[in-house]
Symmetry: C2
Subunit: 364 residues, 2 copies
């Protein structure tokens, strides 16, 4: 079973690192280890947390989620609490006698940490969890690869249909709504993120919001979308022209495509993430557009749209078989527009497997 | 001007509390003080932060958001940074010479706090911000009240149309999609949260996910929805029956409605939040359903769907004119179903003004 297997892996890691317990409150980590699906209604409003020792696996939640927790996380003992989470958690820690408790230092707020420390007093020690769960999540197991393939295939098919359907004169918002509609019809749980439909000068804003601007026939339109299916996200970007593009953008498009292809050709297990980023970045730099590619080449995708590993110039990590990442170089010319092209790939020993697929995608 | 006015208020408060600077990273606080609209793509992936002293107002962001920041936050000096936010922020703090810097203790992670402290060394002190911005945001100014009314009116009209349109045999997911569609057609930016369409036994789950269950003619259907308009959220719940309800649910419906009406009657500026909660809770308790009302009576609504003040049995606060809160008692019978009724109101000196409105809402 998926979740009991993951608990075994986690408990081995806890053993190696001398941890008595792990406390997990980050929603995707929580789901990954327990199967409990509820997202947090808002940040600072938690749907629950896990407390895992070698003997125990406890899911702490409140009356809003008790029934779902029981159904979705049968490997966990569900405790429905009233009042403050820090207090309830503190009691559980003291009750189990755990001395070294790992916590998610990049998710737990300073306030929650303080409240818990006050409750615990001089006894147990809270230890930053570091990469413990991130390392598990960044290598996808066969179940996850299947889920990510399904999610990537669905979004690829939506992208193909959108490109075929788009016409000049539609607003960005109308196109974004059509993306929503197709995701609903195909059975997605949700979109993975608000779709980006950035036409003309808006394309120079990497995180543009789809607005009332009408898309024109002779400008680049950046389409960036993802769906969520069985909890797993996808992420794909194409830049399209509805008729003949201006010469400069045809040139930029080819540079971005070349950067992407070069990166995809070299990418394989064993390479460092900054090397792959460098391969794409070098193509763009040599073409004279280095200053217009401000973001990283890609990122991991899984239960979250953006997760480890980051594939960029900083914080290099070794790429490993089973990682699923995006490859998405872009060139953004302020005031004029942008071109970004993004695929999702599964890293393997000898290369990559493309998870996003469509024959109609690349215009030149 | 809205944002310069808010900065004046904040700077007065900083003066009173002996703070040299305030660092703001929580997305709604950031928008409230600067006008910079970008949400965070994900938690632990910030779109930027504000650094405010008596003399300076700096918006720190990265290359993805520079252009929007300049346009949306003209009162701020925009700095587009590369690399780690804690480092850039640390440099700005050291550069301004601020000694006491307030930070959002319920939003800043333990890790970010630690990174910043390491950068700052023995110099400046980081001070929990406590209620500084929360207190500003929980009293709505005229601009916000207008925006909240528009948002509440839009969602009320959608609720009315959905109730008229629903039929037995539709799935929860189909109804949720129709809510999405109407919000899009009426011009909402987005839904404020995924709509809840919880039929029959699913109604006993306060945060049910709309699924493939077909809604029946003789069961309660909990509809909970909100839209986002000009950044402002709305939140409304109705429970409907498509034909004659079972006797028990008719009874429960009347108890919930009575609890809500009693609370609305007494609610006014000057009353404590736990007193209002108690009025509604007492009605449900007396009717013998006390154990089936597990959550608070209501919550503030504004740039976030859930914000201060909380209107519940714990952490009492004084209700004040200008607060906008929900009043949403509910009774949830595990395995059978639930009834929740929710209005959004503006608190005034002598009572409340109902912001959610529709003549067809209450069936009995």
């Amino acid at each position: 079973m998926l979740y009991s297997q993951r608990l075994i892996v986690l408990r081995n890691k806890m053993d190696n690192e001398g941890l008595d317990a792990v406390w997990v409150i980050q929603p995707e980590n929580r789901r990954y280890l327990s199967g409990f699906k509820a997202p947090d209604p808002q940040f600072t409003e938690s749907a629950g947390s896990l407390f895992i020792t070698q003997e125990e696996a406890i899911l702490i939640t409140d009356s809003r989620y008790g029934t779902e927790a029981e159904e979705e996380a049968p490997h966990f003992e569900v405790r429905v609490i009233k009042g403050e989470a820090a207090k309830a958690l503190g009691n559980i820690i003291l009750e189990t006698g755990a001395k070294r408790v790992a916590f998610e230092e990049n998710y737990v707020t300073w306030q929650l940490y303080r409240e818990l420390m006050e409750k615990l007093g001089q006894g147990p020690e809270l230890v930053p969890i570091q990469g413990l769960i991130r390392e598990m999540r960044q290598i996808k197991d066969p179940y996850e690869i299947k889920a990510l393939k399904a999610s990537a295939q669905m979004v690829s098919s939506i992208m193909g249909e959108i490109i075929g359907w788009m016409n000049p004169g539609l607003t960005e918002r109308e196109v974004a709504w059509q993306i929503h509609t197709l995701a609903y019809r195909r059975g997605a749980e949700d979109l993975a993120f608000p779709p980006i439909v950035a036409s003309g000068p808006n394309g120079a804003l990497p995180h543009a919001v789809a607005g009332e601007r009408k898309i024109g026939p002779d400008e680049p339109i950046v389409l960036d979308m993802g769906v969520k299916l069985n909890g797993y996200c996808s992420d794909i970007t194409r830049t399209v022209f509805l008729s003949e593009p201006p010469a400069e953008f045809r040139k930029i498009y080819r540079i971005v495509r070349e950067a992407q292809q070069k990166a995809l050709e070299v990418m394989r297990a064993g390479l460092m993430s900054d090397e792959v980023d460098g391969v794409a970045r070098e193509v763009i730099k040599k073409a004279g557009y280095g200053e217009y590619f401000g973001h990283s080449l890609g990122h991991g995708v899984g239960l979250a749209t953006h997760e480890a590993p980051r594939v960029g110039p900083l914080k290099p990590v070794r790429l490993e078989a089973g990682m699923v990442v995006t490859v998405e170089p872009g060139i953004y010319i302020p005031g004029k527009g942008g071109v970004r092209l993004e695929e999702m790939v599964l890293i393997q020993e000898g290369g990559v497997e493309l998870l996003t697929t469509d024959p109609n995608f690349y215009q030149f």
